[in-house]
Amino acid sequence: MVDFLKNMLGGDIPAYVVVAMLPLFLWVLPYALFAVWMERKVSAHMQDRLGPMRVGGWHGWAQTIADILKLIQKEDIVPAAADKKLHLLAPFVVFVGSYAAFAAIPFSSAFIGSDINIGLFYIIAVSSLVVVGILMAGWSSNNKWSLFGAMRATAQIVSYEIPTALALLSVVMLTGTLDLQRINFLQSGPVWNWFIFAKFPFIFVAFIIYFVASLAETNRTPFDIPEAESELVAGYHTEYSGMKFAIFFLAEYGNMFAVSAIGATVFLGGWNSPFGEFLGGPVWGLFWFLGKGMFLVFVQMWLRWTLPRLRVDQLMHVSWKVLTPWAFVCMLGVGVLTMI
């Protein structure tokens, strides 16, 4: 794909610019519009309501477009006591942190932004930038709720990165590579070749640990204490409105898909068809990949509208006393099973 664009556009730089923009405009923006609508519909139907029904005609499909138009028109309010530069910069840092992960995500056997051999490591490293942005937002807002939210977010994300990384590491022990495209190729074949079923039950447990920890990393319920609306108004984005708020929102939904995509790639076979060669190939690969990613996004929403929020001490308990030790157990188990 990148080579094709290099030939077509006649240069490295235009090709890289196009490759960098492709996932954003072809997937992340439409996906975010759809996912916000879907979140509202899922939440509504889980509560026996209907959700948005009027904008656009069919089941309020244009609701998010209307919301975005509203957010664009809103006044850009910066609190008088805020640190203006950091306040302005924070949403963009958060978005960069969540979007940079898309650079190494293999959308299909034919398309990956950057086919680097440390893809998984790169994603884990670069998504930590989100914490910096959130802390920036909370600190610069000069508001105690924002600062509380930002500090909780930092504590939470830093804690949960450990089980996330350990869960992924148990797969890496199996594959011996951090290259996500290579991990995909290793899972080709029918469903039982996916890593989630490998070295049963250790990688299955690792997947669950990864999924729970990724929920916490994206600040989603039941781990949404950084923006706990009943306690902290809106947490770190209390003082944001208009497009800056929209960018935070976009970053959150982008992050949701990014972690789902990594989960799908590492554990659920990525762009591999569940039927082996049948319905395979790059185009179907894109379909399977996005389908698996969206399924995990749906599960995230499902959990959000099922579970209540955890307390801060419970949050730390889950991370340090449950997920981290069990992630080590999984690693050990995979190691032992690989040896024998």
Partner: protein
Amino acid sequence: MKEYFGDIFKGIWTVLVGMRVTFNHLFTPAVTIQYPDVRLKLPERARNRLYVNMDDCIGCDQCSAACPVSCIRIETVKSVAGDDLGTTSTGQKKRLWVTTFDIDIAKCCYCALCVYPCPTECIKMTDVYEFSEYDRKNLIYNYVTLSDTEIADVKVKAAVAEKEAAEKKAAAAAAAKAAAAAKAAAGPAPAMPPGAPGSPVPKPPAADQPSAPKPPESPKAPKS
């Protein structure tokens, strides 16, 4: 140790139970009624906006008197001889021009106490409940069917009639006074002269004449 594993098991189990519940609700039909498109059926005797059928109103003011929040304001003008106001659908003759019939529906408490006293059943509660307005003044409903000129007309007529009646009364009073004075002057005298103003006019006996003779009871006779 046992507690730790128990907690983990319980945590996973309860999450799964919760997920099953919400997943089932995902396919439960929503309870939402999409209001402007779909409306709930109102109860049979729902009390909403008041309506007055002015064709039947006799201007008796009983609804206004019954209203606990004084939201009905009625003014009437007497009709004069020769005015034909028609009858209500219950056959009652109308005797008053209703020149004001305002209901301030913003004050109305929908108690329906005005409905029961109405002798002609012309004020009633309807099932209309969508009548919000941007200006509170628009919530004062005016039910009068007469035009402004008609109202002015009946008022003038009534005033003239009243004046005439007052003059007659004054004249009668004056005549009675004069008669009393004359009586006092002339000493004891027989009853008031017939035809004097203010006195009841005795009906001429001839008027009753046609109905006076009783029909012969002959048809009954042959039978017995």
